[in-house]
Symmetry: C2
Subunit: 235 residues, 2 copies
DNA sequence: TATGCCGCCGTACCGACGGTATGCAACTGC
DNA sequence: GCAGTTGCATACCGTCGGTACGGCGGCATA
């Protein structure tokens, strides 16, 4: 398998019909490279995928690859951006129409759990993203897409609880939930029965949200814990 | 810098005084390899660290390396195990003496936040661990050390709330908290001011724990959410 | 003490991979 | 038609992980 998804040589870039013939061909090969790269990166990982195998799958040569991308990492980043973009779109779609923050959070949770079960998202974004791109670059990429969705949901929930938190603390909450759901999603996908595992995750997160609701109804305030977490040894 | 930590050629393995001269030499070089590897992996990452630079730092050759390890990945795994082991010990030490589950959780949280600020733990365990070892191997390594501590804490908290959950759900809670704290720790370390960032994390997690307490006092039960999260498209 | 053995490690080498330099052919604007 | 540019192929290089093999030296045995 895996050869079936390789795009045809015939240009078919319907998004840019006004482009010249040359530009259409160029966009077609570039797209073919990203397609094949996404497939192979997902299947074998970044390090185990050779550029030769990618260009062979796209039926071009390394000359074409290095014409469109500055190197292997840049190609990975193009794949990364597309996967992130698709994921973010899917989540946004699921959020649409929900007004109640708690329902919104539940819908977002389910959408995220669905996204995180895609092999390409787990492999490319969660597993290899931080390692290949470096954490800094990984973070700034992700903050413009999926993480932004999580942050949006978190803001809604916090606003529903009448808590007024500064920007940094909201970001912290979003980080926590994002990390929690990424890790949970990873374990869901590798579970024997992903269905019940996903249900467990939903139960657990739902329980945490229920705790938020309980605190909101009782009017409990946030107590800052400036108790001073010791910083790490400089080793 | 970085050359200062390279061990001397003279054997100095005080842990095994009964060993023969040969064995001492052997253990010394093996230890030197792991030391240098840990340092270089932490500083430059796995892929950007060549075996030549490692053996040069340890003042041996590749023959020695391949005598002690089956390859680069095995060497990384040795480093990984040691870093994980140290981290787990540090957390266990912090947990000692605490009887109240909530205090225990707070102490564990602080210990973890401290550990996760070590550059070697973030780089080797969190960032590159899943990518280099593969998620399966990463998980089984980690479940014997740091994750076990988190699971222990989670069990305590859940037991304090009188909730009787099955094993899978407890593991799910632990996964969630582990991922949350890993992600949070990563952002703490890369923050402009890690001190206040750590305080924010403590506040946020503390708030979630407060929600647990509120639910425990009100006797709220866990409602399983078998509402069926849709599984991913097979792409 | 002599000797055979084997653990420990050095040397030399290989194939594969990421990256680069260069050339050329096809398309485009004039 | 013609020069210039774009898009890509070909050939090549340096580096890296990994392997084959040899030898030196400690160590148990007679």
């Amino acid at each position: 398998m895996s050869k079936s998804s390789v795009s045809k040589l015939v240009p078919k870039v319907p998004g840019v019909p006004g482009a010249s013939r040359r530009q259409q061909y160029s966009a077609s090969t570039k797209r073919a490279l990203v397609d094949v790269a996404e497939e192979l990166f997902t299947e074998n990982g970044y390090a185990a995928t050779s550029l030769d195998s990618i260009v062979a799958g796209a039926r071009v040569t390394k000359g074409a690859l290095y014409h469109h991308f500055s190197g292997k990492q840049a190609l990975f980043e193009a794949v990364f951006e597309r996967v992130e973009h698709d994921a973010s779109r899917a989540i946004q779609k699921a959020l649409k129409g929900h007004k109640d923050p708690w329902e919104k959070a539940t819908a977002g949770l389910r959408a995220f759990l669905s996204v995180v079960q895609e092999a390409r998202y787990r492999r490319i974004v969660i597993q290899e993203g931080p390692s290949v791109l470096g954490y800094e670059r990984y973070r700034e990429q992700e903050e413009r897409s999926t993480f932004a969705n999580v942050l949006d949901i978190v803001r809604s929930v916090l606003a529903a609880g009448q808590w007024e938190l500064d920007e940094a603390l909201q970001q912290t909450f979003a980080r926590i939930f994002f990390g929690a759901m990424s890790s949970a999603g990873e374990s869901v996908s590798s579970a024997e029965d992903p269905i019940v595992a996903a249900a467990n995750v939903e139960t657990a997160i739902g329980f945490i949200l229920a705790g938020f609701q309980a605190l909101a109804e009782s009017g409990t305030d946030l107590v800052p814990g400036v108790t001073g977490v010791p910083d790490a040894p400089t080793s």
